[in-house]
């Protein structure tokens, strides 16, 4: 079933056991992003240590895709330099816009390659990107404070 290409086990695992969920009390920037078409919401905290992503925590409500995606992101980008994280972010965004033509580079994207199937379902791409756009926004705000 084509549905299985969307609901990869990795995605459902992250959905059921989300990583770094629960907002840390201290952070450099906090953002709240909403998908107005379905009501999914994510609040995301970022703390930086010079040019390194020192902490990402989040809370949210939404579908398995949006929640798993932010969980994967928080695991993946934690401890990376901002430049390294940007590379991952751009790579992931490109994958999401590929309409199913890319499989994703697992050396860069690790667990996030499981999201490749999402790009075949136009209505779900926004779900997958919600947390990533929140992260991007948060880092810009955190950097402005440095």
């Amino acid at each position: 079933m084509q549905l299985d290409s969307l609901y990869q086990e990795v995605i459902l695992d992250h959905y059921k056991r989300p990583q770094h969920k629960g907002l840390a009390a201290t952070y450099d920037a906090q953002v709240h992003h909403v998908n107005p078409s379905c009501g999914d919401e994510i609040t995301l905290n970022v703390a930086l240590d010079d040019d390194k992503v020192a902490a990402i925590t989040w809370d949210g409500v939404g579908c398995s895709i949006s929640q798993a995606s932010v969980s994967i992101l928080s695991d993946l980008l934690l401890g990376k330099s901002i430049a390294e994280a940007d590379l991952v972010l751009n790579n992931f965004t490109e994958l999401m816009q590929s309409k199913g033509t890319m499989v994703g580079d697992d050396a860069i994207l690790e667990d996030a390659v499981a999201m490749a199937g999402v790009s075949k379902f136009p209505a779900r791409i926004k779900c997958a990107l919600l947390g990533w756009m929140a992260y991007k926004d948060a880092v810009v705000q955190a950097q402005a404070k440095l």
Partner: protein, 416 residues
């Protein structure tokens, strides 16, 4: 001939195609937009093929034919609603109808009867679609008028216990939905209309979810304005209707300015044409108006009473089957008493978007999300719901498919 949805379905070519690797299309999203019968598709394309010209202008045969077709469509809509021909304004959508009205209210200057000030009140309800909330919310901001609203009870009805305190003597507009697009609730209009008229307020009815599904007569309802959309009424997109009482429309200022809506124009001033022309600036959506007339003819030939009876029966079956599933939590009334054939629900921990995706993989089309009624879903304490909405072409087999699909989704997401 007895009403048979399977026979009705033969009039709708879209049901000949399949979905997601050969599955039968189970279309349960008519609350968002309805499918179109051949007669509507033919009427719209035939206008372009045979009669296309700009209406109300042009000194040629095609212009005459186009004008006849367009004005004939107006007469068909008037008859369908029980209103006068000059009381029918064509717009591009029900959303535009409601915006036209709300903007017109603030477009007439301080001596116009529709002008609102900070001394006035606008009343809506908590169950409004965004299209019948935001235009009034913004009119309140523009004019300084106060916006007030009837609350929704936990069982999905309007709380009318404070009717007289809500519709105060300074209330100028009461705008509400006839049937909620989320809850299915059909609102009791008589008491609201009586109170509104007692204080001199006009009643605006968002009939998008009622006109397609039940007989609606504007005179019987004693309302003042009504909006509905063509595309939810087996008609084309790009056509909506605003009906208003003639004695009100004559004083209603225009919202859109341009060709056709004037009596005379100088470089510094303009005099408006009478209604409905005053409210139809520019070359209108002619082919779509003609398509809408074909849609209303189609529904009339079947009979709105027949369609209503069918949906009441099928809606009861839908509610019964849904309530048999552990984990299904319906929002809105649990019986078909004053209720339409639409069901919004949550399903345990399975997010509506994921349920909708699974149902889609089975060929079943539903709507998920907040259904453009965010304040309502917030009030109900749900982030999003899944909505199945029925129409004349649905049958018990479609409901059974939905139930099977829900059980399948529980298994799919539960087992993983």
């Amino acid at each position: 001939m007895a009403f048979d949805p399977r026979v009705v379905r033969q009039d709708f070519p879209i049901f000949e195609r399949t979905i997601r690797e050969g599955k039968r299309l189970v279309y349960l999203d008519s609350g968002a937009t309805s499918q179109k019968p051949n007669s509507v598709i033919e009427a719209e394309s035939n206008f372009y093929r045979m009669h296309n010209a700009a209406v109300h202008r042009g000194a040629h045969q095609l212009a005459e034919e186009a004008t006849d077709a367009y004005e004939g469509a107006r007469a068909t809509v008037a008859k369908f609603l029980g209103g006068g021909v000059d009381e029918i304004i064509f717009t591009k959508s029900a959303t535009e109808s409601l915006n036209l009205l709300a903007y017109a209210f603030s477009n007439g200057g301080s001596d116009n009867r529709f002008n609102l000030t900070s001394a006035d009140r606008i009343v809506v309800t908590e169950m409004e679609h965004h299209a019948n909330l935001i235009p009034w919310q913004q009119l309140a901001k523009r004019s300084g008028a106060e916006l007030a609203w009837f609350a929704v009870t936990p069982d999905g009805r309007l709380d009318l216990s404070n009717l007289a305190e809500m519709i105060t003597p300074n209330t100028k507009v009461v705008s509400l939905t006839h049937q909620s697009n989320v809850l299915g609730t059909v609102n009791p209009l008589a008491a609201i209309v009586a109170r509104a008229h007692e204080v001199g307020a006009v009643v605006v009815l968002d009939a998008c979810q009622s006109v397609p599904h039940m007989p609606v007569n504007v005179k019987d309802l004693d309302i003042d304005f009504l909006a509905f959309s063509g595309h939810k009424t087996v008609g084309p997109t790009g056509i909506g209707v605003l009906w208003g009482r003639a004695e009100l429309l004559k004083d209603l200022p225009p919202f859109l300015f341009g060709g056709s809506m004037i009596e005379s124009v100088t470089m510094t001033d303009a005099i408006w044409a009478p209604s409905p022309r005053r409210h139809e600036a520019g070359v209108p959506n002619m082919a779509q108006a003609v398509g809408l007339a074909a849609a209303l003819d189609y529904l009339t030939a079947i009979g709105m009473d027949e369609i209503y009876a069918h949906e009441q029966k099928l809606g009861a079956y839908l509610l019964k089957r849904l309530q048999e599933i552990p984990g299904v939590n319906l929002v809105g009334p649990l019986t078909m008493n004053d209720r339409g054939a639409v069901a919004s629900f949550t399903l345990g921990d399975i997010h509506p978007h994921d349920l909708g995706q699974f149902l889609d993989s089975q060929g079943i089309a539903v709507r998920t999300g907040h259904h453009c009624a965010w304040p309502l879903t917030r009030k109900l304490g749900v982030q999003a719901t899944t909505r199945a909405s029925l129409y004349l072409y649905n049958d018990e087999e479609d409901v059974d498919a939905l139930i099977e699909g829900i059980l399948g989704a529980q298994k799919y997401f539960g087992d993983k």
